[in-house]
């Protein structure tokens, strides 16, 4: 049976499956600090990794078991645990190889190749990975045999609450990795909060350092110069954020008009898009900018943003001619896979064949650019 072959919404630290993550750590150290999921203190112990590999409770310190739900705080703890474990491995390798650069290259290359092999096993052929550090993106080496089977690009992630100064720095960093062909765009992420009034205040635009529109301004005008770039915005993930996507698209529309920009580029993708104002304006903005919606079913259930897959708006978008893609949001952390996300959509959507066709079109457009 045909299924989709792209993975357009995943985060580097959430990719590798839990057991493979522990197995990977053994490449760098026989022991790890315990407890695994807490910062190290004077009371922490060391434990042999072999003792942890088949322990379900330990694996659940690195993943949300499929079907279970956790609050958002737990997601952050899981990410922090994964991040800290890789930093632990880097520190071990730095002691061995002498430089941080060599240690990071060894650890993150090994990690990335393991993640990509898992995607290859899921028959994925193209992936865009969100991550915040350009130096890691530039430093990692993808093995030749892996590179033949899957094309890997990065999105430079930037938190929506960063200062304008940091966003400008991110834009400068992005230009370097865009020119090298390593990254293809930005990912605006972070837990969604309703925009504060000051973030929406345009009355003194050039002096308002908290203006969300000013942040979009910087990112959009950077990406508009690059033909095949992407701007992904995490939006509409929670009930509280239902108004955000339309507000953000309105800002994009205002900026495009002000600067006389033709968009795309960048390709605008909405990460999640589960909650929204169901009205003609929302649809017209999505169509005007050829937006694509990334549906992450397992992630939405795991974080209790929806109580059932039946809530997912696959058919609302497809039947209103808005393309959607299926993605995992981090297949290891959410204990899922692209085939599983396909199975979920197949049981819920009347338009599964259209999802696969759209994915094929996107793959052909993006691969080997």
């Amino acid at each position: 049976m045909k299924h989709t072959k792209t993975e357009l919404h995943t985060h580097l630290m959430g990719m590798l499956s839990a057991k493979s993550f522990l197995t990977l750590l053994k490449s760098f150290s026989n022991e790890v600090y315990w407890p695994l999921d807490k910062p190290i203190t004077e009371d922490s112990k060391k434990v042999n990794i072999d003792l942890l590999l088949d322990n379900e409770d330990v694996l659940n310190m690195l993943q949300i078991k499929h079907g279970q739900t956790v609050p958002y705080d737990n997601l952050e703890q899981l990410y922090q645990t994964r991040t800290q474990l890789l930093k632990f491995a880097v520190q071990k390798m730095e002691n061995k190889y002498g430089t941080l650069e060599k240690a990071e290259r060894m650890v993150y290359s090994t990690y990335l190749n393991a993640c990509l092999q898992e995607l290859i096993n899921q028959k994925v052929k193209y992936v865009e990975i969100s991550y915040s550090l350009p130096r890691i993106m530039e430093n990692v080496i993808i093995n030749d045999d892996i590179a033949k089977k899957i094309e890997c690009k990065f999105l430079l992630s930037t938190n929506r609450n960063r200062s304008l100064k940091k966003i400008k720095e991110s834009a400068n960093q992005l230009e370097k990795v865009l020119k090298k062909g390593i990254a293809v765009g930005f990912d605006i992420m972070g837990q969604e909060l309703p925009l504060a009034d000051i973030e929406k205040d345009d009355s003194n635009y050039s002096n308002n350092s908290q203006s969300f529109k000013r942040k979009l301004d910087i990112l959009l005008t950077t990406l508009n110069q690059y033909k095949n770039s992407t701007l992904r915005i995490h939006s509409g993930e929670t009930k509280e954020s239902f108004a955000n996507t339309e507000q953000i698209l309105t800002y994009i529309d205002e900026l495009a008009t002000f600067y006389d920009l033709v968009i795309p580029p960048p390709e605008i993708r909405i990460g999640h898009g589960v909650y929204f104002n169901e009205n003609d304006r929302y649809l017209s903005l999505l169509k005007k900018y050829n937006c694509i919606i990334e549906i992450n079913a397992s992630s939405n259930v795991a974080l209790n943003n929806i109580s059932s897959y039946a809530w997912l708006p696959y058919d609302y978008y497809i039947e209103n001619d808005i393309p959607i893609v299926l993605s995992t949001d981090g297949h290891g952390l959410y204990d899922t896979s692209i085939p599983r996300e396909n199975r979920i959509s197949r049981t819920i959507s009347r338009n599964y064949d259209k999802i696969v066709t759209t994915d094929q079109e996107i793959f052909e457009r993006k691969a080997k650019k």
């Binding site: 985060h11 630290m13 910062p39 190290i40 203190t41 705080d73 952050e76 990410y79 922090q80 991040t83 800290q84 930093k87 632990f88 880097v90 520190q91 941080l100 991550y131 915040s132 550090l133 350009p134 130096r135 992630s157 930037t158 938190n159 609450n161 960063r162 200062s163 304008l164 100064k165 940091k166 720095e169 400068n172 960093q173 992420m189 972070g190 837990q191 909060l193 309703p194 925009l195 504060a196 009034d197 000051i198 205040d201 003194n204 002096n207 308002n208 350092s209 908290q210």
Partner: protein, 149 residues
């Protein structure tokens, strides 16, 4: 690699304070015209701090700094969740300090102004780490008393 500089962030946010003098700073915690109460304000800042540490600037920290901040932010987060047991102004000061370390917009602008006027932002993590960097020590520093809880 771009270095996140605590003191450069102070300069930048100070400039923003001057530029935004015409703004109603209460808008920072006003959602559709309704002002948040202090516990909700602290929760909102906690979420931003956690987010930038977990998915952004925190990824740039080395292993030891990451561990120190993870510990501190865990305790800060718990304190915000139980903020009735803590002095709100001290928690606001810790939020301002963490936001300067992480490069996030300062929303507690009045607190930030007072901290600048009282020279309470003269040390960053690099200068504090050898003196046992922790939430408890930050609380003591900004309150002036030993944390009992």
């Amino acid at each position: 690699m771009t270095k996140n500089n605590f003191f450069e962030n102070i300069k930048y946010e100070s400039t923003n304070l001057n530029l935004s003098s015409g703004f109603d700073n209460d808008l920072s915690f006003s959602i559709n015209g309704e002002k948040l109460e202090i516990p909700a304000q602290l929760t909102r800042e906690k979420i931003k701090i956690l987010g930038e540490f977990t998915f952004g600037e925190g990824e740039n920290f080395d292993f030891i700094k990451y561990n120190d901040f993870r510990h501190c932010i865990d305790k800060f987060s718990s304190a915000v969740d139980e903020c009735e047991y803590y002095e709100p102004e001290v928690l606001k000061k810790i939020a301002v300090y963490l936001e300067l370390e992480l490069g996030i917009n300062i929303s507690f602008t009045d607190t930030f102004s007072r901290m600048l006027a009282n020279n309470e932002l003269t040390e960053d993590y690099e200068q504090m780490k050898d003196k046992n960097f922790s939430f408890e020590n930050l609380y003591q520093k900004y309150q002036g008393q030993t944390l009992r809880r």
